[in-house]
Amino acid sequence: MKNAVPVLSVLAVIVAAWWLAVAPMNIRPALDIAERGGAVVVPEGSVPRRDVSVWKLMLDNPGQVAVGYDLKRPRLPTPSQVGEELWKTTGAMVAKGRTWSKRSLVYHAWVTLQSTLWGFMLGTTIGILGAVAIVYSRVMDMSVMPWAIISQTVPIVALAPMIIVVSNQIGIDGRGVPKAIISAYLCFFPVLVSMVKGLRSPTAQQLDLLKTYNTNGFQSFFKLRLPASVPFLFTALKVGIAAALVGTIVGELPTGAISGLGARILIGDQFGTPLAIWSALICAAILAGALVTLIDVLQRITLRRMGFHT
């Protein structure tokens, strides 16, 4: 828990910067509202104000800056507005017994989490099996590795709709499967790269030693290569689970999906409700943090039990 202080300090800085940014971001709508409410604003009228920088507007109308911190539809909501919205759509819903309502972020987060975990499992499996194939077969090394790298240069946003269309065409109902595939597409790569490195981490001397025992291929895999790759695996899993979550959210964006955090972000954008976007975003960040922390804990426990000195 000695990490808590630096982590919280960084968080505090981010929240402070966010809070300060609200003033310039919201000054224009704030002045519009103040003007409509009868306040004197320099210059008058929202059209002439377009040519004035936000900094000058703030300097000329210091009394109205505070209005920007209490808008119904802010361009940038304040941290406390987002916190409030987040509570209304999570804790408050749970308290009212409406946890699984379509308005509850707990429900949407759960939808996203499911696809993330499926994608993560699929991606991790592909990554590990691919790495084994690459390490043991020169042909695979020469043929698969370049394609794995190229696959990551294709923008996932461009690929996601195609995956959904194709899986619809071949008769897969619902969005769970295509979302998991998109998620796995992002997740497999870090696992593959790390596992190739991990499986190749034994030194020439360690391999020679096994040769002097006349060790067969299976034994050298299970007794040397696999255990030697475990620290590499966990590092990759942390990157992989975050990538899987991003993949799922991207998979929820362009698809007309109505549930999942990605869908909430898109709907919030279409309906002009930045509070919904921001609370879904923060919710996704919390989810990612929780998943990475979970794997970190698993890593510590596993490596300690294996005897690695960390």
Binding site: D208, K211, T212, Y213, Q219, V230, F308, H309
Partner: protein
């Protein structure tokens, strides 16, 4: 040299005749070994000494079937090195202990036994036995990082002893350790050799170490890697550390030094 044509001496454990190994590199062939002929008898403690590039490690690796010779003949226990390796005829100790960090000391020693399919009860008994041989009793449950470098190297020797091979090949096992630890380990190796009566091949570039340990010192020189002198030690098998101050010891060390200098004369 004691080697005689056609004499397949019963006591000869390792026998090399006109052995050569040439590595092809971009800068042309490198003659790691050229026309090396040597016999190692059962129970011998043979040291290979020489400057870097003289082929001493390569020679040991050929015995262990970790390198293939390009010409000449070599037998280990009367068969090819490959057959000897498959019959697990030797234990090999590398320069670095190379213990698996995820296995305890006991687990590391069990590694060859697990691979060879030795049953659990025998494994336990062997672990106790070899840990006692290298004076690491009570360290079975410790992880490698909890041990000093010298102790780790002893554990790696124990690992090489665990499956009761008659031959022990050691490639500069104490090269990375400081001199005090080294002296101590040299004594322990002699003790171990006396108690197990193994045939030992030992690569080193320390003259005192070679003279102190060996019954036979093979002096080698580079470009091409070859044997320049084979010295049969006249020291008794039982050797306290003080023997290094004796006249005999100093004479042998002198001859080794002369051999090294002669082989190195051209550069």
């Amino acid at each position: 040299m004691t080697m005689q044509e056609g004499d397949a001496s019963v006591s000869s454990v390792i026998s090399a005749k006109n052995l050569s190994l040439t590595f092809e590199t971009n800068d042309g062939p490198v003659h790691a070994l050229k026309d090396v002929t040597l016999d190692i008898n059962k129970g011998d403690f043979v040291s290979f000494i020489g400057p870097s590039g003289c082929g001493k490690t390569t020679f040991l690796r050929v015995m262990a079937d970790l390198e293939k010779p390009t010409a000449g003949e070599i037998t280990v226990n009367g068969v090819s090195p490959e057959e000897a390796r498959k019959a697990r005829a030797y234990g090999y100790v590398f320069q670095h202990a190379g213990l698996y960090p995820w296995r305890t000391i006991g687990g590391n020693i069990r590694l060859p036994l697990e691979i060879m399919g030795v049953d659990k009860a025998t494994q336990n008994q062997r672990v106790t036995e070899v840990l006692e041989l290298v004076h690491l009793d009570g360290f079975e449950k410790k992880y490698p990082w909890q041990l000093s470098g010298g102790m780790q190297q002893r554990a790696s020797i124990a690992r090489a002893l665990a499956f009761h091979a008659d031959i022990l090949l050691m490639d500069e096992p104490f090269g990375a350790l400081d001199e005090i630890v080294r002296d101590h380990l040299n004594e322990q190796v002699l003790d171990l050799w006396a108690r197990t009566n193994k045939t030992i091949g030992f690569v080193t570039h320390s003259i005192p170490e070679a003279v102190f340990l060996s019954t036979k010192i093979v002096v080698m020189s580079p470009r091409p890697g070859r044997i320049t002198d084979v010295i049969e030690s006249t020291l008794p098998r039982e050797r306290p550390l003080e023997i290094r101050d004796s006249k005999e010891f100093i004479e042998i060390a002198h001859r080794v030094r002369d051999g090294l200098r002669a082989g190195h004369g051209d550069d």
